[in-house]
Symmetry: C2
Subunit: 291 residues, 2 copies
């Protein structure tokens, strides 16, 4: 998905939110925000929003020297989500279709997104036990049909906190289909509250999946900037699940089939998906064959 | 009130909304939006938001050659508001305190604001007959005490559509206090959906007030840029009423006492007023004496 002009106010809003985590000096915030405004015109609309966001956040890191302003928030998000993990697992194990319930939980967890949320957000609101197994965009049956034949599953992670829900979903898949080999892709460097190797370790993702450093410094997986291991998984996985808006934005034109699991949180993505803001999405992208 | 960094995403959003009224060519929209982003860093935070907005809209006018993108919308807003004027007047005349009801209507009318509204907005939603005579910030009793002694009232208008509610409020004041001489200030040039002399004529404001060209090309009254007639009214009025957020933003530090009547529609103004977004404001500003 390319960038739309509606994304520009949002880039500024995101930059300001990150800058306020780094410094309470308004003059310094303005200095960096000014640089962001001067740089945005140099980037083409053909770039996906996360590719432009990467540049925005890299300006902030370069200018302030702070690479990971969301570090403490991420640790706290993971900790809060881990605290409710046993209860969430119990709820899922009482459901008639555990896999569907776990998928629903994983999508609910995608509400934990500091790139989109305007204000402080409680992880418990994203993981509140209310995952009604309903998807507004529902290709779950396609997923259920393909999963028994899947050997190598690539799961592209999104945010801290949310990663705990991802872990529960992956666990449920592996209980149902023990043949599954799962790779869990994380970003190659801190960006917003996206998961990196640090988060994967904090929540014990290695217990259920091989954790893959995607090499991406964007809040998404960029197909032309993968680490060798990531590229190998991406090309040879028998199923790909991509979590969240960022991964949808960067991969929605992919030639490969992908299951996109996300909460639709912004009007631009909503337009692209032809669905209202607030929709829960479990969408099968068939893949676009090269010409 | 000075500008806050939170205003920058909003300036871009407003610019984009105006550009989309002017052209559906995205490349042209982007060209002008880029110029706005390159210009914003050159303007100091000490400026009030409407002073910066004036520059933003002047870039749009200069680059596109379209001075008044909201022209059709304003005419339609006035026409819709005029259509409900008799009914609104009847409702007010059945109220025990007609003046308070008319003030409430005038504040409800302030919802008609294309600088703030994100999407298409129906005038009937702003003037829907539901003006419950309740103000979240309520200095109405001060107003009621001062009005009998007021000879020269300056009423600084805000938006098209809303101006019909202003006219009803002014009419009620003049019924109660026939000695009142009212000046109704309009902007000196088209800016967003703010009222100019054209709107004042369309709704027959001249029937109840002298219409004053303020000279302002901003979506507000700027104290240092008034026409001579405006300055005379501003300095010699025995009461000043300023409608809407823009006038609040530019006049909140004024040395003169002013009644601010508005719907609080954005978080920055809400912070300044220490009130939630959505509040109805009838606030008496005592005036700041010069040192």
């Amino acid at each position: 998905m390319r960038t739309y002009l509606d994304c520009y106010p949002c880039f500024l809003r995101q930059a300001l939110a990150a800058l306020r985590l780094i410094t309470d000096q308004e003059a310094e915030q303005k200095r960096v925000l000014d640089l962001v405004m001067q740089t945005l015109p140099t980037l083409p609309l053909e770039y996906s929003p996360p590719r432009i966001a990467r540049t925005v956040y890299s300006i902030i890191a370069r200018e302030t020297g702070v690479e990971n302003p969301y570090r403490e928030i991420k640790i706290a998000s993971n900790r809060q989500a881990l605290a409710v993990l046993p209860e969430l697992t119990r709820i899922i194990e009482r459901k008639p279709n555990r896999l569907r319930a776990a998928a629903s939980l994983a999508i609910s967890g995608n509400l934990i997104d500091f790139g989109v949320q305007h204000e402080g957000f409680k992880v418990s609101e994203g993981l509140n036990g209310q995952f009604p197994d309903h998807f507004d965009f529902d290709d779950f049956s396609t997923f259920e049909q393909q999963l028994p034949e899947t050997k190598k599953l690539l799961y592209i992670g999104d945010n801290a906190g949310e990663i705990v829900a991802d872990k529960i979903f992956i666990s449920q898949m592996k209980v149902a289909y023990p043949q599954l080999e799962v790779g869990f892709a994380v970003r190659g460097a801190p960006i917003i509250n996206d998961v990196t190797i640090v988060d994967a370790k904090q929540v014990g993702m290695t217990e259920v999946a091989r954790v893959i450093n995607s090499g991406s410094r964007a809040p998404a997986l960029l197909e032309d900037e993968m680490s060798p291991e990531m590229a190998d998984w991406f090309l040879h996985a028998t199923m790909i699940i991509a979590k969240g808006q960022g991964n949808y934005e960067s991969l929605s034109q992919s030639e490969l089939p992908i299951f996109f699991l996300l909460q639709c949180k912004c009007p631009v993505v909503a337009d692209d998906l032809k669905t209202p803001v607030g929709s829960t999405i479990f969408k099968y992208h068939h893949g676009c064959q090269a010409e």
